[in-house]
């Protein structure tokens, strides 16, 4: 039987064990990708019985918590009775030829920014129909600097952006009417045209 005095505390094995465990813990440090949802040790009130935007609902048949307005109803401020501004047409249903937004520096800047976000993937930054998406196989749109598009009334352009034309989809859900007009003002600048009576600030 070993005497108590022969026993030594396991200093060296203990250190070795630590040397193994610490790097192992370090191995599962942050930014290690995981498909498992985060576990919060103290969940507080992280999850409350309420709907957030674009949430799922088990109440409605289509599982969407967000609902469309009731058919035939108009939200306040959305009557859109101004046909020239919201449809690009005048009282005689003809396309308007003057942009309801005056081409101020602010409008042109907004138009350029929106054009580069929403139009340039197909139409190209210079409007020549050479966007990156066209290079991947989308039907090539016409050149904005061509004569036929220079002669197109702004109202018709507005209608194209709003409702789509041929292969081009409608952009009414991505662009507000005032942004569509700003883009058209910028387009006129790309085309090297100024409209009658317009003054650049």
């Amino acid at each position: 039987m070993p005497r108590l005095t022969d026993i030594r505390p396991p200093v060296i094995p203990g250190l070795l064990l630590l040397a193994v465990i610490v790097p192992l813990l370090g191995g599962c440090a942050r930014e290690s990708p995981s498909e498992k949802p985060p576990i919060h040790v103290v969940p507080d009130m992280d999850h409350q019985p309420k709907y957030k935007a674009q949430a799922e609902s088990d109440f409605f048949a289509d599982a969407s918590a967000m609902r469309l307005p009731v058919k035939g109803t108009v939200p306040r401020g959305y009557l859109r009775a101004d046909d020239a501004f919201y449809r690009g047409r005048d009282e005689t249903e003809a396309y308007v030829t003057a942009n309801p937004l005056p081409p101020t520096a602010e409008v042109l800047h907004r138009g350029e920014e929106r054009f580069n976000i929403y139009c340039s993937p197909c139409h190209g930054k210079g409007g020549r129909g050479d966007g990156t998406v066209v290079a991947r196989g989308f039907t090539q749109p016409p050149d904005f600097v061509s004569d036929s598009l220079r002669q197109m009334p702004v109202g018709q352009m507005f209608e194209a952006v709003t409702n789509g034309v041929r292969n081009m989809p409608s952009y009414r859900h991505q662009l507000r009417p005032e942004d569509r007009w700003a883009i058209i003002a910028y387009l006129r600048q790309l085309q090297g045209m100024t409209e009658p009576g317009d003054t650049l600030e």
Binding site: R3, L4, T5, I7, R8, P9, L25, A29, R30, E31, S32, P33, S34, E35, K36, P37, P38, I39, H40, V41, V42, D44, M45, D46, H47, Q48, K50, K52, A53, Q54, E56, D62, A63, S64, E113, N116, I117, Y118, P121, T132, V133, R136, G137, F138, T139, N167, P169, H173, Q174, L175
Partner: protein
């Protein structure tokens, strides 16, 4: 008679105290880090119903974030686009692709696609994307280099202390408003002067009030 305790037993009280201190410190550090969102949330990368690559769309094709997340500048939410937005291009491009079928199905049957939320804030936090963009906080500041992600994963902890770090010292995180979606933007040498100017011009005073984010 032999001694009951060997000589090293004299060191036991000191060793015990030392071990207790080390263990205590380890336990605190362990909880501090492994229970924090730096560990629990960063790197969350759920499998989505569609294998959508930001690397292809945002980087190779150079499509702006706002083409799809179109409400981010005017809404608290950076909206997940409706499948209608996908179909803008995919009516023509790769319309028959196997990977695209969930999108096509959703579009045809008018049932929402069930994307898995990656960036989750607690329900008692009222974060607003639009005001952050207006102040000149870029997408990449909170979401990382999404343009390099094949599958979106959470890049930052989105914890309260992390939010407050920026709210207390926003200077390094501000950029010109026309650079918010630029993933390659780096602060210039005159960032301090630029930030001071932008804060003055846009009236940026990040709140550190409880009610700024909690109601």
């Amino acid at each position: 008679m032999a001694q009951i305790f060997p000589p090293w037993a004299n060191r036991l009280p000191v060793l015990t105290l030392l071990a207790a201190a080390v263990l205590g410190l380890s336990a605190v550090s362990f909880v501090w880090y492994y229970f924090s969102p730096w560990y629990t949330d960063v790197g969350y990368r759920p499998t989505q119903p569609v294998f959508y690559s930001h690397l292809l769309h945002a980087d190779s094709l150079g499509i702006d974030c706002r083409y799809c997340h179109s409400d981010v500048e005017t809404s608290p939410t950076a909206n997940i686009p409706p499948v209608q937005t996908c179909m803008n291009c995919h009516k023509i491009i790769k319309a028959d692709s196997e990977r695209l079928q969930p999108v096509v199905q959703s579009y045809v049957t008018k049932t929402p696609l069930k994307w898995v939320r990656v960036h989750k804030l607690p329900d008692f936090v009222y974060f607003d994307h639009s005001i952050h963009l207006r102040a000149g906080v870029g997408c990449a500041g909170c979401h990382g280099r999404v343009n390099e992600m094949l599958v979106v994963s959470q890049a930052k902890p989105l914890s309260m202390s992390w939010c407050l770090d920026c709210h207390r010292h926003p200077d390094d995180h501000l950029r010109p408003p026309d650079q918010i979606t630029n993933m390659d933007w780096e602060p210039a040498a005159d960032q301090v002067e630029f930030a001071a100017k932008q804060k003055h011009e846009l009236g940026i005073e990040p709140t550190v009030d409880c009610s700024g984010c909690h109601r």
